[in-house]
């Protein structure tokens, strides 16, 4: 989730001059097991990625190959009960749903869907297939999703894997424009998600 673009209306985006803040992006080398999202969740990428200096939330981090608008691999490392998935842009008027310790794995895609709908201000967000999978050693869920931002034409596709382990939510999502970018790095993203361990 490229959260830096959340909550900005088209008007603001047009008024802003898009100059990035100094971010401190780091290279993620291939072949090394590494802890992600300030948590005990580890992954071992088979190819290089870039870790963005800006985080979507306290227990989250984003990797990309070409920029988070083009490919976005985000790790949520053990979100506690009562916490939202990512940082809230407007907690008072648009609060995000929160993780619950009694969530079933079927509730994980629903939580992501609701969070995106609220944060992106769109009803054009839907969950596709939902399957059981072993994730980070736990009973988990793998699901596909699709969305477009409000007023945009560019379709984006996504794929997520998550599990509730010890009352916390662990989740990895990959998303990219449906044109070209999704297919281009989905295999690399899946490899990273497959390697997840706790």
């Amino acid at each position: 989730m490229s959260f830096r673009r959340l909550g900005l209306s088209v008007a603001i985006a047009a008024a802003l001059i898009s100059v990035p803040a100094i971010a401190g992006n780091k290279l993620i080398p291939a072949g090394t097991r590494i802890a992600v999202a300030k948590s005990t969740l580890t992954v071992q990428p088979a190819s290089e990625w870039n870790k963005l200096g800006a985080r979507p939330g306290r227990n989250a981090e984003t990797w990309t190959l070409d920029g988070d608008a083009l490919n976005d691999l985000t790790f949520y490392g053990g979100i506690d009960a009562g916490k939202p998935l990512f940082r809230e842009a407007d907690r008072k008027n648009r609060p995000l749903p929160t993780v619950s310790a009694t969530m079933l794995i079927t509730d994980i895609p629903a939580l992501l869907e609701s969070s995106y709908r609220i944060a992106l201000g769109t009803a054009a967000m839907s969950i596709g297939t939902v399957e059981p999978v072993t994730f980070a050693g736990g009973k988990g869920v793998r699901f596909t999703y699709a969305f477009t931002r409000q007023g945009e034409t560019l379709h984006r596709r996504g794929e997520g894997r998550g599990a509730m382990i010890g009352g916390r939510l662990y989740l990895i999502t990959y998303e990219a424009p449906a044109l070209y970018y999704f297919d281009r790095s989905v295999a690399a993203a899946r490899q990273v998600a497959d390697s997840a361990r706790l």
């Binding site: 008024a15 001059i17 100059v19 100094i22 290279l27 560019l154 044109l179």
Partner: protein, 236 residues
């Protein structure tokens, strides 16, 4: 709207390593340029100005027409076939914008560059080979995208700038950004991109538009040596 603009050195041109475009060898299709001109009020709000935009559209078209003869290759305007799916073209334009913005954000600003994009001379960006399926691109070798957006600062904005400087709040007067990109229709690769968030040339008059187009096409591959662009930094 105030914008904190850290002082960055921005690079302006990217070219795929080893890419060469020999004069007289390629057919280039110019997609409908995206042109927006208006004023920026003291609050930084964009106020579109139809007259300025119409002038700019005419001036830039004329300037591009002039420049085309010096690009060394045939440049034709994009003609949307009657049966084309307008949503598909719109989606590709949004993809190009996303890619161009990503190039600016993650490659042209060295302080924010992605480590994998740091290697010497590297320039790997693409819209995907399916771009060839866009109706109207059959028979073309390259597609040329041009975008300009100008917000002219009002007097109030310039006064505000002075006060803001005293208060150590950076405020920019005016937005003058533009980018031009050349996409290889067969591979979808972005072989060349020239982008600048602070361009020169007042697009509202013919001479300024020519300057803007010269800047936009600066570093265009395969361009025979022409008059040096002298005014690039004068506007900054």
């Amino acid at each position: 709207m105030l914008t904190s603009v850290p002082v960055f050195a921005q690079e302006k041109t990217g070219l795929k390593p080893g890419f060469q475009l020999k004069p007289g060898t390629a057919r280039i299709v110019l997609l409908r340029p995206s042109i927006k001109v208006g004023a920026q009020s003291t609050g930084g709000m964009f106020e579109p100005n139809a007259d300025w935009t119409a002038q700019a559209r005419e001036n830039i078209a004329a300037a591009l027409g002039l420049a085309q003869t010096s690009l060394g290759n045939i440049v034709g305007d994009y003609v949307e076939p009657g049966n084309a799916d307008p949503a598909m073209l719109a989606e590709y334009q949004e993809l190009f914008d996303a890619v161009a913005q990503s190039v600016i954000e993650y490659q042209f600003f060295p302080g924010n560059r992605l480590p994998t994009k740091k290697r010497d001379g590297q320039f790997e960006w693409s819209l995907g080979a399916d771009v060839a399926r866009l109706p109207g691109l059959a028979g073309a070798d390259y597609a040329l995208f041009v975008t300009t957006e100008d917000h002219f600062g009002s007097t109030g904005r310039k006064v505000l700038q002075v006060f803001a400087a005293l208060a150590r709040v950076p405020v920019t007067a005016g937005v003058h950004k533009g980018f031009a990109g050349l996409v290889d229709v067969r591979t979808g690769e972005l072989v060349w991109l020239n982008a600048d968030l602070q361009m020169g040339g007042d697009v509202r008059d013919a001479e300024g538009a020519q300057k803007r187009v010269r800047q936009l096409l600066e570093g265009f591959p395969g361009k025979p040596a022409d008059a040096p662009v002298t005014a690039v930094s004068a506007a900054h």
